[in-house]
């Protein structure tokens, strides 16, 4: 054996010592057996020790692993009939029980961790205290399950809005009381909330949550609700106040409180509405004034127009009468003109006749004149013959003188002839003078007749012109008659139109009076509202007045004094006393 066996022995003793130590500390029967076996080994001999080494190492391995918390190791290939066989199986059984319990508890708890309470630990087959642990775990699981189920029931109730749900008596009292207490708190507070909301529904904002004993978020919620109620109440109160003042016609009231969200929107809406309403009322007031003054103007204008229309109607009647007179006069003129024309034609006829007489007279005169000339020529001839005769007689006398006595008789004849010639020459001279005179007179007469002819022509022309004029007069008179008839019918129409106008003017007057009254009423109505200081400039109504003045320039040549006065009243921003005048 030698050194090797000694070392084995030493090792064996060391193992015995360690196991013995384990035995002392664990007090296990199995270990005692081990001690016995080991002691036996030592006693039997070193040879036996060597044969036992393998199984001992396996057991040691399991023990060491178990000591490290590793429960999986087992002793395997245990020799049947070996003296450590029982020991090895005992170790294995111990590890089986331990590992099984560990796995069972671990698996169950792991599933409980994720809320699965459906796995039940299996105590069957386990021995000693091991099944008790599992039964306890199952019991704990059952309690947790019940608690969680109950809690889930409560939570489901909460989820469904049922605050009356409570944990049952099967749940542990401490936990149950906590949960149920919390539920009661929440329930009570929420009931209070409900009451407050119900009151709110009835229009009562005075409800508040009683916060004594209420803690945490619920307390904060209560505080928030109370605050909300405060704000809401204040907002409603202020809104009511503003509305009340509005009811009393005061549009100057505003909501002054600091609000948020919808309340702020409400506040701003009401304030804006108030402002806008005030503005509108102001505008209406101004417009009413304008309308009133315009209506008055229209009314006045209408009255003016009415009287003028009446005057116009009268004038028209007069015109109609005058027209009739004119018509008859014109007719008379036309008749006269026709007569004049007739007369003129007659005159022309006569004048024409006169002219032809004169022409013939002129012709006769010219004939006389010609004859006179011829007579004058004849007389000149006679005168020449007388001269020649005288001369011949003289010659005959001379010859008779020379013929002496024989010629005396002759000389006497010649003397006679000579005296006759002288007297013929003298008579011719006289006739010539007379004829010349007559010719002069005839010329004069001819000239006069020519002039007469010219005058007659002129007269004839004049008469013709007169005739033309008379015709024209007659024509004109006809046209005038037609014109007068048209004028007459126009006047008749004008008359009926004027009548209608008069009626319309009356209606307008009535309407404008009505309008004026309504404007008064409107003014009176809006004067009910207090809009504070009127901001509207008076430019607009005065412009309107101007415009109205322009629109009826004929009837409004001179605006009535009253109207001017009212205009100035409009131009000045009104005081209530002035409004009362309307």
């Amino acid at each position: 054996m030698g050194i090797v066996q000694t070392s084995w022995l030493m090792a064996g003793m060391a193992l015995v010592a360690s196991i013995f130590a384990a035995v002392v500390s664990e007090g296990s029967v199995v270990s005692l057996l081990l001690v016995a076996v080991t002691v036996g080994v030592l006693i039997v001999g070193l040879r036996a020790l060597k044969a036992d080494q393998a199984i001992l190492e396996k057991m040691e391995h399991v023990a060491v692993d178990a000591n490290r918390g590793i429960l999986e190791s087992r002793v395997t290939h245990i020799p049947v009939g070996h003296r450590y066989e029982e020991c090895a199986w005992a170790i294995n059984e111990m590890m089986d029980q331990t590992e099984t319990v560990f796995r069972d508890v671990s698996t169950t708890l792991n599933r409980m961790v994720v809320g699965d309470y459906g796995r039940h630990p299996q105590p069957v087959g386990l021995r000693g205290l091991f099944p008790e642990i599992l039964v306890t775990v199952d019991d704990v699981q059952e309690r947790v399950k019940k608690t969680m189920d109950s809690l889930a029931h409560v939570m489901a109730g909460l989820g469904d809005g049922d605050l009356g749900v409570r944990m049952g008596d099967d749940v542990e009292a401490l936990f149950r009381d906590q949960v149920n207490g919390a539920m009661v708190s929440i329930d009570e507070v929420l009931k209070q909330f409900g009451e407050i909301v119900k009151q709110l529904e009835q229009g009562d904002c005075s409800g508040r949550v009683e916060l004594d004993g209420v803690k945490g978020d619920l307390h904060q919620l209560g505080v928030n609700i109370n605050q909300s109620m405060e704000f809401f109440g204040a907002a409603v109160t202020e809104t009511v106040m503003v509305a009340e003042r509005m009811k009393g016609g005061d549009l100057t009231a505003r909501i002054e409180g600091e609000f948020r969200g919808m309340l702020r929107t409400l506040k701003e809406s009401i304030n804006t509405t108030q402002a806008k309403f005030a503005e509108i009322v102001g505008s209406v007031r101004t417009s009413a004034t304008g309308v009133n003054s315009n209506a008055l103007e229209v009314s006045n204008g209408s009255q003016d127009l009415a009287s003028r229309t009446a005057e116009q109607a009268a004038s028209l009647e007069q015109t109609a009468a005058s027209m009739e007179q004119i018509s008859s006069t014109v007719n008379l003129s036309a008749d006269n003109a026709v007569q004049a024309s007739q007369l003129a034609e007659d005159s022309v006829h006569h004048v024409t006749e006169g002219t032809s007489v004169i022409s013939r007279a002129v012709e006769a005169m010219e004939g006389i004149n010609e004859s006179s000339s011829k007579i004058s020529e004849i007389i000149s001839l006679i005168d020449g013959i007388a001269f020649q005769t005288n001369l011949l007689a003289l010659n005959a006398a001379v010859e008779a003188a020379r013929a002496g006595e024989h010629g005396r008789g002759f000389a006497v004849v010649a003397g006679e002839v000579r005296s006759l010639a002288q007297r013929s020459a003298d008579a011719a001279k006289d006739i010539k003078g007379l004829i010349e005179n007559s010719s002069i007179r005839i010329e004069e007469g001819s000239r006069l007749v020519g002039e007469s002819g010219k005058s007659l022509d002129a007269i004839q022309n004049s008469i013709k012109k007169m005739n033309d004029i008379a015709r024209e007069i007659a024509l004109s008179a006809k046209e005038q008659t037609q014109g007068i008839e048209q004028v007459n019918s126009a006047v008749t129409q004008l008359d009926s139109v004027t009548q209608e106008n008069a009626a319309l003017v009356e209606e307008t007057a009535a309407s404008s009076e009505h309008l004026s009254r309504q404007a008064d009423q409107l003014s009176e109505m809006v004067s009910f509202f207090d809009v504070g200081v009127l901001k509207t400039a008076p430019a607009e109504p005065s412009a309107r007045v101007k415009k109205a003045g322009k629109a009826a320039p004929v009837t409004m040549k001179k605006p009535p004094k009253a109207q001017l006065a009212k205009r100035s009243a409009v131009a000045t921003p009104s005081a209530d006393s002035e409004w009362a005048e309307f």
Binding site: E72, T76, V80, W89, N92, R103, V124, G125
Partner: protein, 176 residues
């Protein structure tokens, strides 16, 4: 002796209340440990069991769908409870109420499975054996290809009909 050569017999081994079968396998189902009760009920020696496939004790009356479910469940890292009819080396059988849990090393790697078999509630066995018979008959009727799907459907239909999950059914049966 190969498992398929064993002829099933009517000899039943009934687990006692304190009996507690423990076995371990690696990931492929090879037995790495079996306790003495396992040795006793299976009829194999420890030496025979170690390294053998766990289906060494598989009884031909068991529907394949049940093992499919078992393996699907534990391979997914979950535990499973199941009533299992096992066959001993001598062809006899014993019903167990099995619980299989995955085993992890310190680094949380899946390294094998741990199975504890306890005495089942006899009332539960009456129900389960009937169900298994139906499932098995159906598996044999439709053939290997559709066996598991068809049989699983029967199990699913049963659960649907009762309005229970598989585990709820098991616990309900065990508590009956």
């Amino acid at each position: 002796m190969k498992q398929k050569d064993i002829v099933p017999t009517d000899r039943e081994r009934v687990m006692r209340k304190e009996d507690f079968i423990v076995s371990k396998t690696d990931l492929s189902g090879r037995i790495t440990y079996g306790n003495r009760i396992f040795i006793e009920f299976s009829g194999y020696t420890e030496k025979e069991l170690l390294g053998a496939q766990h289906n060494i004790i598989r009884h031909p009356d068991m529907p394949r769908a049940v093992f499919q479910l078992l393996w699907d469940t534990i391979q997914a890292g979950k535990e499973i409870f199941a009533y299992v009819k096992n066959m001993s080396k001598d062809g006899g059988f014993y019903w167990v109420f099995a619980n299989v849990t995955p085993s992890y090393d310190v680094n949380r790697n899946l390294v094998g499975y741990y199975s504890v078999r306890r005495k089942p509630n006899p009332k539960a066995i009456e129900v389960v054996s009937g169900l298994y018979q139906v499932m098995l008959a159906e598996e044999q009727r439709v053939g290997a290809k559709d066996a598991i799907a068809t049989s699983t459907q029967i199990l699913v239909d049963t659960l649907t009909e009762k309005g229970l999950s598989y585990e709820e059914l098991i616990f309900a049966l065990e508590a009956s």
